[in-house]
Structure formats: structure tokens, C-alpha cells
């Protein structure tokens, strides 16, 4: 839509005309000035000589008086022409530089580059609106999985930070207003490769606007939207947004899970942690009284799920009327000892610092730990760059909305099977979860497990399908065997198996035979994935695992071994 060259030419009009006029006047003057040749005959410069002379004079190269020494008349004119051409050149060059450095011009250039980059994308990509904490995590993790994204943010510094980030692929980024639908179109909304639009800004209304624009302009595109309040959630859902993610509700749900089934909570934590995070230790939360500081969206969601579990809560809120806090709410910020005393901090078992200000949350935690050092503390961290201080504060659970959303969307997009598994797993009982935890813990070192999905198909596992087509059986165990040492198994666990006919198996037994079209979810150490994919793709490795010996592969060797075995039979 913008054309850089047109813009440049339009703004260079006056300087260029000045240069041409200066040259024309200088050349004409030189041609008209009377001179003398080397024999003393009257001589006038031709246009060619004049052009040649002005060209090197104007650019201040200066070869001297060519072809004959000048007459005084010519020198007078040259003096004038010198100033004229040099000034006009400087003016033109200065104008060119100022245009190139002009903010508006650079924005046009950035826009054109972005559009060009997006046009060149030939693979599936996601359009991410909002490059905050959640967006950064999402884009980074998707890139790790080899999935491209295109980023729009209205804040220029965010886009700069995207360009500085070292990702495995180039991610085009644009500074634009989200409500401008042309920006979405430039970012590739109409492209058939656009797999989805993900609205992740911290403003529900903007997210709503992005979702509605995408759904109207490209109805077949998947739209994932972040929403933090219940009414905008309902509003966004009303026009068919595919997934709506509310970080506070999600955290509250998981928080409740911690009380109901600690093992299940651990499973959740492990499966949904970010790429190669350190394995966290689990501390069961106390079931006594909890103090909730801040009754906003976060506090409300937590309070709801705690009271659902029958746990007593005391709320501390600066503005009880405005937030519709329940009876018995203590008025105050929670950062002062007096308020915390009033809330009964000495007898409380847990404390939740859930205001939208990181400094206040930290202050609440520090003050209350000072008053009661046995407290179980939960803090809401709003800005991801505060990681270090939150870590130093020794908080039991830190909830970071951006990270939570980012990770959830990554899982949804890269391993949809995992989301499916977790949905099924949550309905199982505590014993089942214990078994799962001990099995997974058995194969781990000090890092959280990676999970990956494998489909039994010619593309993803050619060796397996080849063997199955031949009528042989391949079991889950075969895939989990270490191809380098067949008596050992890889450090991973099969979590979930889905047959093509939608029959589902949680924690499939090792002897379960695989069928073509099966989808298998596995979790374990990152290295196991490489080995497993190798087994699944290499028929020699797989048949070695299945039969325990190397099968002859060349036709000669096959014929020889057939002969040998027929002789042995005789």
C-alpha cells in the first residue's frame, strides 16, 4: 500500500530540481564565457567540456582547468558555479539523509519490509497480537518447535525487543494499532498459511476487537483469545472465538487441584512447565485459614475455588465496596502490619498476595512472613522481568498470568494430545495420579519432562507402518526401547494412546499393539524423543528391536539367508 520509492521521490523533488538548475546554469554559463585555446585563438567551451568540467567541480573532485587554462571571464563564472553546485549538492544530500532518518519514512520502510517478509512465508504460521510476557513466551516456544509466528504490537519498543531476540527463525514484527484491520491483513490474515490468530494483549477490549475482526474477515481461521473478566469472556465467546483463555480462572482451578489431589497437581505442573525448567519440589498447601490480599479478578477466582473446597478465607481489600467484597472483609492494602494483624495473620496458614502491583505483592509477602514465618505463600507476579526478586522472596507458589497463558497456548498448538490427556487425567483418582507420578519421576533427572506426540503414519513413523503392513505386531514397548541397547528402555513413559476409531487408553500397557493411525503421547527426557523418532523412522533399527537380530536387507543376502534357513529346515 505504501510505496517507499514514490515517497522518497516526492520528497526529493525540490532538492533534485535545485541540483538540475544549478548544473544547467553553470554549464550554460561556461559555454557562453569567452576563452582562449593553447595557441591564443578565441575559444568557447563546448557543452561536452562544460558538462565534464561542472561534473567534477560540482562534486568537489576538481581536476583543474581542462582542456585549456581558463580566461578570467571563465574563472569568474566558475567561482559562481562552484558555490552554486556545491551548495545544491549539499542541500540534496542533506535532504536525502533527513528523509531516510525521518520517523514517518522509517515507519513506512518497516511496514514495507514487514509486508514483504509476510508475503514470502510459505509455511503454516500464527498471527500473534501483543508481544507482552505471554506473547514473548509463546513466540519463543513456537520457534523452538519450528512453528513460525508473525507479531503485531502497538508498542515500538516491544517490536524492537523482538528483533533483538535470538530465535531459531526470523519472526516478522510490526508496530501497529490492533484495531486497524489493515494491519491484520498485512500480517497475513488472508493468507492460506495463516493457521490462527492469537490475541494476547492485556486489554480485554482490544482482544475482543482483534477476535471479531479476524472472525469476520477470515472465518475459517482459528482464533485464540485472552480474556480476564467474565463478561468480556462471554462477549468474545458469542461470535465463535475458538478458544478463550482466562489466566486467573485457570490458575484458580489448578490451585484448587492442589488441595484435592496433590499428585495430580504435580502432573499438571510438570507437563505444562516451560522447556527444560528445573524440577520443582512440591509442598502440600495447608487446609487452614487463608488470607487473600486483593479482591480483584485474581482474588475473586481464588476465593471462589477455595470456598468451593470448604476452606475458610479472610479477604483484605483497599476498596471493599468497589470490588463487591463479601461481609467481613478487612479494609486495607495488606502491606501494613496493622491490617494483617486485623485479618488474623498469626493464626492463618496461608496467604495470597494477589494485587496488580508487584511491589505491593512483595511487600505483603515480606511483612506477613515477618509476622508469621510458617505461612504458605502464594504471590501474583504481574511483570516477568521481576523474576529474580520473586525468586529471592522465597514464595511457595508464584503465579504469572503471562507465562501461564503462553504455555497453555503453546501446548494447545504443538501437542493437542497433551491437552486432551490432561482433560482425561483430571477425572482420575489420587491413586492413579500417584502411579503416574512415580512412573514419570522414575525416568527423570533434575529437569521437567518434555512431552511429544507421535502418529503411526508413513510420514511420522515409516518403519512402524512398514512392519505393520507386513502383518507383524509392533507394541508400545518396542517404541520405548533404546535402539542402541535393546535390553534397556528409553527414559520416557507412554501416557496416552488414541486409536483411529477414537478409542482412548490412558497409560497404555507396554504390550499394547500399535495400529496404523494411532496417536501416542509420550513424556520423558528430551533425548529420548530423538532416539524414539529414529527407531520409528529406521526399519533396520525397528526390526532389530522387534526380532532381536539384524534382518538381511540386500536381495543377495536375503536370498542367501532364505537358502540357509531352508537347508536348516531340511
Amino acid at each position: 500500500m505504501y510505496n517507499i520509492i514514490y515517497l522518497l521521490l516526492r520528497r526529493m523533488r525540490v532538492p533534485l530540481i535545485m541540483v538540475i538548475l544549478a548544473y544547467a546554469i553553470s554549464i550554460l554559463g561556461l559555454v557562453l564565457m569567452p576563452g582562449m585555446d593553447d595557441q591564443g585563438n578565441p575559444w568557447k567551451m563546448s557543452f561536452f567540456h562544460a558538462f565534464y568540467f561542472v561534473s567534477f567541480m560540482g562534486s568537489t573532485i576538481g581536476f583543474g582547468e581542462i582542456p585549456y587554462p581558463f580566461s578570467d571571464a571563465q574563472r569568474i563564472w566558475t567561482t559562481l558555479a562552484m558555490y552554486m553546485t556545491v551548495i545544491s549538492w549539499l542541500y540534496a544530500i542533506g535532504a536525502l539523509f533527513s528523509i531516510v532518518q525521518d520517523k514517518a519514512f522509517r515507519r513506512v520502510v518497516a511496514y514495507a519490509n514487514f509486508a514483504h517478509e509476510v508475503r514470502r512465508i510459505r509455511e503454516r504460521f500464527y498471527l500473534v497480537c501483543g508481544f507482552g510476557d505471554a506473547g514473548q513466551l509463546l513466540v519463543r516456544e513456537l520457534a523452538e518447535h519450528g512453528i513460525r509466528s508473525v507479531v503485531i504490537d502497538k508498542n515500538e519498543t516491544k517490536i524492537h525487543s523482538l528483533q533483538l531476540e535470538e530465535l531459531r527463525m526470523s519472526i516478522p514484527g510490526l508496530t501497529a494499532d490492533f484495531t486497524d484491520s489493515t494491519a491484520l491483513v498485512t500480517a497475513g490474515l488472508y493468507k492460506p498459511q495463516c493457521a490462527g490468530v492469537i490475541a494476547l494483549t492485556d486489554n480485554d477490549h482490544v482482544n475482543l476487537m482483534v477476535s471479531i475482526t479476524s472472525k469476520l474477515l477470515a472465518p475459517e481461521v482459528t482464533v485464540i483469545c485472552r480474556a480476564e473478566s467474565h463478561d468480556s469472556q462471554a462477549n468474545i465467546a458469542s461470535f465463535g472465538t475458538d478458544y478463550i483463555i482466562n489466566p486467573f480462572d485457570n490458575f484458580a482451578e489448578r490451585f484448587a487441584l492442589m488441595f484435592r489431589s496433590p499428585s495430580m497437581y504435580l502432573v499438571y505442573e510438570w507437563m505444562t512447565s516451560i522447556h527444560t525448567a528445573a524440577l520443582t519440589e512440591f509442598a502440600a498447601p495447608p487446609k487452614g485459614t487463608w488470607i487473600i490480599c486483593g479482591y480483584g479478578r485474581f482474588g475473586k477466582a481464588i476465593q471462589q475455588s477455595l470456598s468451593f473446597k470448604g476452606i475458610k478465607t479472610v479477604i483484605v481489600e483497599l476498596d471493599p465496596e468497589g470490588t463487591h467484597a463479601p461481609e467481613g472483609t478487612i479494609k486495607g492494602r495488606g502491606t501494613e502490619a496493622i491490617t494483617l494483624h486485623e485479618a488474623g495473620i498469626e493464626h492463618a496458614d496461608g496467604l495470597i498476595a494477589g494485587t496488580d502491583d508487584d511491589a505491593n505483592n512483595l511487600s505483603i509477602i515480606m511483612t506477613s512472613l515477618h509476622l508469621n514465618e510458617d505461612l504458605f505463600t502464594v504471590a501474583r507476579q504481574n511483570i516477568s522481568s521481576n523474576d529474580a526478586i520473586f525468586e529471592a522472596a522465597n514464595i511457595d507458589i508464584t503465579m504469572q498470568p503471562g507465562r501461564l497463558i503462553g504455555k497453555q497456548i503453546v501446548d494447545m498448538l504443538t501437542t493437542p494430545l497433551l491437552t486432551e490427556f490432561l482433560r482425561m487425567a483430571i477425572m482420575q483418582n489420587e491413586e492413579w495420579a500417584n502411579v503416574l507420578v512415580s512412573r514419570v519421576a522414575g525416568v527423570l533427572t533434575d529437569r521437567t519432562p518434555e512431552s511429544w506426540a507421535m502418529t503411526i503414519s508413513t510420514i511420522q513413523s515409516p518403519a512402524v507402518t512398514q512392519l505393520l503392513r507386513r502383518g507383524e505386531t509392533v507394541t508400545v514397548r518396542d517404541l520405548l526401547t533404546d535402539p542402541r541397547e535393546i535390553t534397556a528402555s528409553l527414559p520416557c513413559v507412554a501416557l496416552y494412546l488414541r486409536h483411529q476409531n477414537h478409542e482412548e487408553l490412558l497409560l497404555p500397557e507396554d504390550e499394547t499393539p500399535l495400529q496404523i493411525g494411532d496417536q501416542l503421547l509420550i513424556c520423558g527426557q528430551e533425548t529420548a524423543e530423538t532416539h524414539m523418532r529414529w527407531t520409528a523412522g529406521n526399519s533396520h533399527a525397528l526390526s532389530y528391536i522387534c526380532h532381536g537380530y539384524d534382518r538381511p536387507s540386500g536381495s543377495l543376502w536375503r536370498w542367501l539367508s532364505a537358502r540357509r534357513s531352508s537347508r536348516a529346515d531340511n
Binding site: 523533488r13 538548475l21 559555454v31 563546448s46
Partner: protein, 127 residues
């Protein structure tokens, strides 16, 4: 009255008239074709081109194209003149003069197109 429009039309028409002035006369007679006139035609044509820069409308693009054609033809004529005068032993010959003038004749056609477009656009506006 818009001064910008006046200047714009002035240069386009001037490019045509100067070009015509150089072109008219016997094709191969050097005395009928003044070098100053060619110089003026070339300079004015260049200026006219730059004035048409940056107009994104379709008609603006066509105007720019015709102007570029005229520039090309006139520059070619000037280059041939320079080479004949300075880089050949014979100097100006009627044959060379004829090719210079016919090149400028091509530029004349392009300039006429320019003026026709300009007039058409003006008539369409009726202001």
C-alpha cells in the same frame, strides 16, 4: 488559481515547445538545429520529470512515463552529438545530424502525449 498547477503545466508545455523548436528544420542540416535549444529542451524535460515524481494516481504514472521516454530520447541525442563532435575524426556529418534530430522527434511525440494527457485531465476537472 493554483501556483503549483501553473508551474507544473508551464514546464510540461515548455518542454514540448523547446523540443519542437529544435526539431523543426531540414532533418540533416546542422545549421537548422541549435545546440542551445537541445540543451534547454533536455534541462526542461528533466525538470518536468522530477515535477511528476511521487504522483501515485494512474494518470500521474502515465505522465511520468512519457516524460521518462522524452528524457531518454533527448539524452541519447545529446550523447550522439557529443560523440560525433569530440570522439570521431569527421566531426558533424549530415547523417549524424539526421539521427540526432530524429531522436529528438521521438521525444517530441512523447512530449505531445504529455500535453494531451495534461489537457484531458484539466478538461475533466472543469474548474
Amino acid at each position: 488559481m493554483n501556483l503549483e498547477k501553473v508551474v507544473f503545466a508551464f514546464f510540461i508545455v515548455l518542454a514540448l515547445t523547446l523540443n519542437f523548436g529544435f526539431f523543426i528544420g531540414d532533418l540533416d542540416d546542422p545549421s537548422h538545429h541549435n545546440i542551445y535549444e537541445l540543451f534547454a529542451a533536455l534541462v526542461v524535460s528533466l525538470i518536468a520529470t522530477i515535477m511528476k515524481f511521487g504522483d501515485r494516481a494512474h494518470i500521474g504514472a502515465v505522465l511520468l512515463a512519457t516524460s521518462l521516454v522524452a528524457d531518454l530520447q533527448l539524452v541519447a541525442a545529446a550523447v550522439i552529438w557529443t560523440i560525433t563532435e569530440h570522439a570521431t575524426a569527421t566531426g558533424m556529418t549530415p547523417m549524424m545530424m539526421a539521427s540526432i534530430v530524429s531522436l529528438s522527434g521521438g521525444a517530441l511525440l512523447a512530449n505531445i502525449t504529455s500535453v494531451i494527457i495534461l489537457v484531458t485531465e484539466t478538461v475533466m476537472f472543469r474548474r
